[in-house]
Point group: C2
Chain length 447, copies 2
């Protein structure tokens, strides 16, 4: 009987625990988590704030369910204070010691709040956990004006949610565009425009300098300008939770997360640990575009890695591939998605790129109800390989971005994509030549 | 100056003509077509019958547009009676002779109407051209009961269209399921059920023996049963129009269509013709699943092949890859899509297969409005390669079927797909693990 201990109860941890038990029903699987709520999607919090999803619904299962239905022992509100890999033991904060054969670390990440003055004032929030969400919801009752720091997808989704419930919302962003880094400005601009039309105010090129107030938030300062508000939400990205990996002296990568093998095993001073696995926001990944590491702190990546870690923890063999990290965000009626590298990120990595772009419809032109669909595809000028893509529409975005993700991962060139790809066609579902293929046609003309 | 003559004015012909002129603006491009209407999508006819699309809208461009905007000379209602490849001339029915350097044959296909008694009675129709559609529309005024022969996607789309305008519709199908050959019965059954609920009557396992009537249709007979009706529409598939290829003695393949090289060049007695290209329903294709030929008589294939034929006709080099032929059909609220081989077709080809299946939602479970989404993936038991897939939902089907098409074309195994594929995630757009990946997980468990 294999004893598996999982630390962490997010998508990665609970997937790993379930998969370990599924792959080896005789395994004894125990989860420790500091959290009160387990197995929920933090991505839905923006919609929960406006009541489109209910707090009680977004928790898929509770500890009791895992115990009764899957034979997994989940210990909530239980902090692990010590891990000893020579003894293969985990010690919790009340001093209990548990033995493991395999350890799975899925401690996730926490919101990064920049170390500015006033960050600890009342009504300053991160937005990551259900408790964050509930605290924001409860504080919102007495709040009229909200500043959101960070124009990434979570910041923008939250901005619209708060507009929808009647708040005045200002988004403050350090960079010159919304969704910086992962989206290009030409694709992101319509999102900003849409939100402005909904009433969101944007302050761009504006690093947040200070949160003002005595006890409670009264405003924020960027540059020399003060923006009065009663609440600040930091949507400024996340950082891996490294306390447990550091305790075990696991190798940490240059991106500030744990290095893993494709098996999701940890390294310690360059040597693979046979019995320590990781999954989720705590790890860094192999990029499918460049040689080297990248971050993939996405729910979908967490689940995928959790499946691999869980299987391997009970002795099966499974690996996780290099990542292009496709993402999608729904901002009101709009959906924006991306995969691989944006133009900006590619230039950071020293790649010379060429982009193709096409706009069409999600239905045939002569069939009513089609939505505008814009596809941008980015190729490496040297190899002609497709290395990135972004899509903007009101529907039918997700399947297309996954399709292009496969092309990136398989190292397909633009020309080969045009030769070998096909698209299904029916007037009510798309155009006879899908906009994805038209974008590749445009790309090839420019290559 | 290259002189290009194109015979045929459907998606393949007009795409080839436009691409030839685009690639070489100095080329003289002339199109001959027997049709009155050019450059339209026959796929939309079922919806035009119920008024969801307008006849005048579905013709993208007329001859005048091509002449003025693209410098292409289109001769409608002009039959080509002779082609002489030694002289490189085309003769039209009024005796005019035209010289070409490159010839593109895109003569398409015609509805196959089985040679049953009564097939020439008044109110018996095929459904392929705008004129077919308009003739049906006009005859429908005096018709209460319609029999549709053939439960393929065109037959079913037409059945629902006619129900929507108040007709009594009976679909008669030779096989035991709707969408036979390209869809499996488990995936097609919900479509039949949906149509039955809308009022369509089905007579299955029933080859149509006879159309009854003296002058006009009065009914049809299958087996010993007569079904009274005032109109019969044959949606019994299409056959390539081979008159011109036969005139030129081009090599015809075992599937009853012209054999082409990847460049879309014709063969004559096993030798490549340097200056004869083909595209669209008139050709047979290389299958991406098996070694050997397959048919891909789809609008999307026609456009893709037209691009290649057009480029090559003016001296550029371009090739068309092997095909998995993804298709999608919208039947009222439902969308069904497929790619590669169905289980039935695979067994005809002697492949031993294993299938995986998963059902989920098009949104996160806790986000309102998600539609049920079922994905079935078929692998070759020997190589584990993905060779087919089918998807059923109310939305978000097309991108996913194109994604799986790429896997088939690239020869990806089920295990490699699980290792290397990723999916974007956002609660309003899909589940954290896309149903496509869950179907692959199920497939791997069974392999």
């Amino acid at each position: 009987m294999v004893r598996v201990i999982v630390i962490g109860s997010g998508a990665a941890g609970m997937t790993a625990a379930s998969e370990a038990k599924r792959a080896d029903p005789s395994a004894e699987v125990t989860v420790f988590t500091e959290d009160e709520h387990i197995a929920y999607s933090p991505c839905v919090i923006p919609w929960a704030l406006e009541g489109k999803a209910k707090w009680e619904d977004i928790v898929m299962h509770d500890a009791d369910f895992y115990s009764k239905n899957r034979g997994i022992n989940v210990n909530t509100r239980t902090k692990v204070t010590e891990v000893n890999d020579s003894e293969r033991t985990v010690t919790t904060e009340n001093g209990d010691v548990f033995q493991y054969d395999s350890l799975i670390i899925a401690t996730g990440s926490s919101v990064f709040i920049p170390p500015v003055e006033g960050k600890d004032l009342q009504n300053v929030f991160g937005i990551k956990t259900i408790n964050d969400g509930k605290a924001i919801e409860s504080a919102l009752k007495d709040v009229k004006r909200v500043v959101i720091a960070g124009a990434g997808v979570i910041g923008l989704e939250t901005a619209l949610s708060l507009i929808n419930i009647g708040k005045e919302v200002t988004v403050i962003e350090m960079m010159s565009q919304v969704i910086p880094r992962i989206a290009d400005s030409d694709m992101a601009a319509p999102i900003q425009k849409y939100l402005e039309e909904k009433g969101v105010k944007f302050v761009m090129n504006a690093p947040l300098k200070k949160v003002n107030g005595t006890e409670k938030v009264e405003g924020v300062t960027t540059g020399d300008t003060e923006y009065p508000c009663e609440m600040v939400i930091f949507a400024t990205g996340v950082r891996a939770n490294l306390a447990i990996p550091k305790m075990l002296e696991l190798d940490i990568g240059q991106l500030g997360a744990v290095i893993t093998a494709p098996t999701m095993q940890a390294y310690k001073r360059g040597r693979l640990c046979s019995n320590i696995f990781l999954a989720g926001d705590v790890v860094q990944c192999q990029s499918a575009v460049t040689s080297g590491a990248t971050m993939s702190q996405l729910g979908s990546s967490a689940v995928k890695q959790g499946l691999v870690a869980g299987k391997n923890a009970v002795g099966f063999k499974s690996v996780s591939g290099p990542v292009a990290s496709p993402w999608v965000s729904a901002i009101g009626d709009l959906q924006i998605a991306g995969t691989g590298m944006s133009e900006g990120l590619a230039s950071w990595y020293g790649l010379e790129i060429v982009s193709g772009k096409a706009t069409g419809l999600t239905r045939a032109r002569y069939y009513p109800g089609g939505k505008e669909l814009t596809v941008k595809i980015i190729a490496d000028k040297c190899s002609h390989r497709i290395i990135g893509a972004q899509i903007l529409s009101e529907e039918e975005v997700t399947g297309r971005i996954n399709w292009l993700t496969s092309a990136i991962i398989e190292g397909v060139t633009a020309e080969d994509f045009a030769i070998r790809s096909e698209n299904a066609y029916c007037p009510p579902t798309n155009q006879v030549r899908d906009v994805v293929l038209s974008a590749v046609d445009d790309l090839i003309k420019k290559l």
